[in-house]
């Protein structure tokens, strides 16, 4: 079946460098594909991905906890398996189904509506300009470290209600948590140990903060979650896991959005010229195209069938893991004309970069505001950007992520 790829090992460098090769081949040849290495069904067509996203009664988000480590790939050191018991009750809101998920999300979603996040726009724009100014004379920057990491960090801290001087340390821990931390595949068979240690440190940090906000609520997200805990909507572990998810998801996805958006523009300089001709009016549609063309999350391994389901001509038994590939759905020629062309004026652009259905990305509107302001600022400042060297791609089954992105411009 996989003649061309010979393998379903999603950690192979060529799949991490070019997800559209492998997943695009699947989309055209075996659109609902059983991957025996990761023991999951891989759904790659736009229409089928939307079926998974919008039918939460059939496709549950309640991942098994503690995780079934025997199914993990690459394998986790067996000596570390008992550590997984620590994760038994550790369930962020995105790993819940209705009705619990609705109550958990309603506790915080008012902070993330398009209108609510508009209040961050001016400070995002100012922050982007400030970071650009810092590096202008140098003629070069490493996008992840110098722009895309500091940009959203302060906003997340303000929203959560943690001191900004703790931001970097907290983010480093959040990027290692198990499962799903963006750095955790760097630790191979040790990633469970590293992840559980990071979770323990984050628990130690956030537990007193939650207790403090329960007694003395402030105008921040931790207070909302603390209130949810008082009302019985969140358990303590749910609350801690949700805070950590907000920390990591809000950050890493923006980081991918900015770095891969820049990469798309460097490789399509005529689109950069177009954006520069009218950044005010084109930033919004340009951002949607970045999200479609190279979405921050390439794939989501996070659904379990609640009954036997037929999808794309395959019979998926109840209880199986189902994964859906946002990157390939966004390039499905059945849904998008010239799907491999980066066109910042594309309209309509109903991409699924933020997923859909009841679990549609909570931070979507915030990502839009920060992305629009960043690309508008870059376009106003730099007539031309180039790569100092070709980027390396990190190994991660979920993220399509550069290890670093060194760009330059003429001073």
């Amino acid at each position: 079946m996989l003649a061309q790829f010979e393998t379903d090992d999603l950690t192979r460098p060529e799949i991490n460098a070019d997800p559209w090769g492998y997943f695009g081949w699947l989309r055209e040849n075996d659109p609902v594909h059983w991957n025996p290495v990761f023991k999951t069904w891989i759904v790659t067509r736009y229409a089928d991905v939307n079926v998974v996203l919008r039918n939460h009664e059939l496709f549950s988000s309640k991942i098994p906890l503690p995780p079934n480590l025997a199914d993990e790939y690459p394998p986790i050191d067996e000596a570390d398996w008992p550590l997984a018991d620590d994760l038994a009750g550790y369930r962020a809101f995105i790993f819940h189904d209705r009705p619990e998920h609705l109550a958990m999300r309603q506790t915080i979603h008012r902070w993330f509506t398009p209108r609510a996040v508009e209040k961050w726009r001016t400070s995002m724009a100012a922050r982007a300009q400030e970071l650009i100014d810092q590096y202008r004379e140098a003629g070069t920057m490493e996008v992840k470290r110098d722009l895309a990491t500091p940009l959203p960090l302060l906003t997340i801290c303000w929203m959560l209600g943690v001191p900004s001087e703790d931001a970097e340390h907290l983010y480093e821990l959040a990027a290692r948590v198990y499962p799903g931390g963006t750095d955790n595949h760097d630790y191979g068979g040790q990633r469970l140990r590293v992840g559980v240690e990071a979770i323990q440190k984050l628990r130690e940090y956030f537990t007193p903060l939650l207790e403090e906000r329960e007694r003395d609520p402030q105008d921040d997200l931790i207070s909302m979650i603390a209130q949810g805990e008082t009302q019985g909507v969140y358990t303590r572990e749910d609350a801690l896991a949700s805070i950590m998810i907000l920390m990591d998801a809000g950050h890493t996805t923006t980081l991918n959005l900015i770095s891969k958006g820049i990469l798309a523009f460097v490789r399509n300089p005529e689109q950069w010229d177009l954006l520069r001709s009218d950044p005010d009016n084109l930033a919004a549609s340009a951002l949607e195209e970045i999200l479609r063309y190279d979405p921050p999350l390439k794939m989501v391994i996070l659904r379990y069938t609640t009954q036997d389901v037929e999808l794309g001509g395959k019979k998926i038994p109840a209880g199986d893991s189902v994964s859906y590939v946002l990157a390939s759905a966004n390039r499905d020629p059945r849904a998008f004309e010239d799907p491999d062309t980066f066109d910042i004026t594309r309209s309509p652009n109903p991409h699924v970069a933020f997923g859909g259905g009841i679990h549609h990305c909570l931070g979507a509107a915030l990502a839009r505001v920060s992305g629009q302001e960043t690309f508008e600022a870059l376009a106003r400042n730099f007539p031309r950007l180039h790569l100092e060297r070709e980027p390396e791609w990190m190994v991660h089954p979920v993220h399509h992520m550069v290890r670093e992105l060194q760009i330059g411009w003429n001073r």
């Binding site: 939307n50 039918n55 979603h109 859909g356 259905g357 009841i358």
Partner: protein, 74 residues
Amino acid sequence: MTQRFTAHVDPHLCVGNAMCRAIAPNAFVADELGQSVATNPPGESLETALEAAASCPVGAITVTDADTGDEIDF
């Protein structure tokens, strides 16, 4: 007298988040693609419709005054 109004969901924007259906289950239903559609039943409260509009994560819902056609802000 209560204000007459019409709710509308933009099908190009709706992502099927279904928050509106949770808040106002009589006023919004799912279509076959899992997107929300406004049913505008008689007697629905304006307050609930506006809460649904305000809660939409992609700003797909508008509520207009049925007499003047003006958008009612949430």
